[in-house]
Symmetry: C2
């Protein structure tokens, strides 16, 4: 449930104001939800019909609700939410700009892949924080069956038109590649956040744990990313795509 | 609470399936909310900062919630919601295309003016329908203080820069002109809906009321529009603009 005794530099006492790593996590998620709201709304032009447009708006509205939860929590912690979000604006915008869907199916794959991998990532970090943060993150990333619905739809489309499979597999690969690339930049810049990704919140196996403050061990970060990519492969399979 | 005895052609028995006019009203509102959602989200690029973007997303998310209420009601009435919305897609899209804001203040004025005039319009029609429809419309158009907040902001901006006043007044005039123009097209095409706009649901003072089915008396429709324009003037004043 909580971190080991060696993780004091990253763990948070429930009665204490969380550290910079947790603020970063909440702020990154808040901006990710806000920008996802606008980007999803932007995909309306790709929706095949009015019903699909309505569903899309519903997904976007849920992203807004998540943003609101996270932003309110930041404000409650006495943090200026917008200032806290600012470091994540550029990498998240860059990711979206580099992965703009050109078709409705690409938009659906993007939603499924990015919700999945981001959800795993957030949960992984949140497990290294306090109960309150963990509960909030769990609420925000809870899968409401939307992923499964998308996977079924993509699988059906690929079965109807096998050529699509290759194209969408490449698309999914690019989505993850671009995400990991931006995540690496963020990890390099946000030391306290990256420290939450490493075993025992900053140490590394075989090293003296809980040393001189948080460590942005980029090799450990990469190992976490490798683990996230494995879960991603299962999602690809669910969509009938290959890795 | 209900219409006069002469209005049977437009009024709806609470236990009966509402007529075409009510279906049209709900469908028009549903599509108006859905398209407003996407158009508002589209204005994100105009927002001056992250906090304003977040507020914008919040307003759009509320539009989605309204859309959902209306769409669910249409489905509950056994109507295909998308088919019912279809006649309103073109005029509402045309209105948005012809009134695309070029600045953040124009976006705010558009929200205030269109929420205001559409709200008055919907309430006016809904008063001529059944209790259930009236309650749903009241819920959807309820002003949550957002209009007042926008008016205060616009007034302050105009006081700071009086040149803005002239420009935004012209903008507000264009918004209403384009809205009335599209509304006239809708009234001409949707006879049952237009009939709800005329006194006693189809008759005209001095005429034999409740004659041969619903009447799309365009002069009566124009008188309703004239009344709506009066309320619009009060909103202009609240923003420090002139008509």
């Amino acid at each position: 449930m909580t971190n080991g005794p060696a993780s004091d530099n990253a763990a948070v006492d429930p009665d204490e104001k969380p550290g910079r790593g947790v603020i970063d996590l909440l702020a990154m998620m808040a901006y990710a939800e806000l920008v996802a709201f606008f980007r999803l709304a932007d995909d309306a032009g790709l929706a095949p019909d009015l019903a699909a447009k309505g569903e899309l708006a519903g997904v976007a509205a849920t992203e807004y609700a998540h943003y609101k939860l996270l932003r309110d929590r930041l404000a409650e912690l006495g943090v200026d939410p917008e200032a806290a979000m600012r470091p994540f604006v550029e990498p998240l915008n860059a990711w979206h700009t580099r992965t703009e869907p050109q078709s409705w199916l690409e938009s659906l794959v993007k939603t499924y892949v990015s919700d999945g991998i981001a959800g795993d990532f957030y949960r992984y970090i949140a497990d290294r924080t306090d109960d309150r943060t963990r509960a909030l993150v769990a609420e925000v990333v809870s899968d409401t069956g939307r992923g499964e619905a998308i996977a079924v739809r993509i699988r059906a489309a690929v079965e109807d038109d096998p050529k699509l499979g290759g194209r969408l597999s490449l698309w999914a690969r690019r989505l993850v590649g671009e995400a990991l690339s931006q995540a690496q930049l963020v990890a390099a810049q946000r030391v306290e956040l990256a420290a939450l990704l490493t075993p025992q919140g900053g140490g590394r196996e075989g090293e003296e744990p809980g040393g001189a403050g948080p460590s942005a061990d980029l090799a450990a970060v990469s190992r976490v990313f490798a683990k996230l990519t494995e879960a991603h492969s299962a999602r690809l399979e669910a969509m009938g795509l290959s890795g």
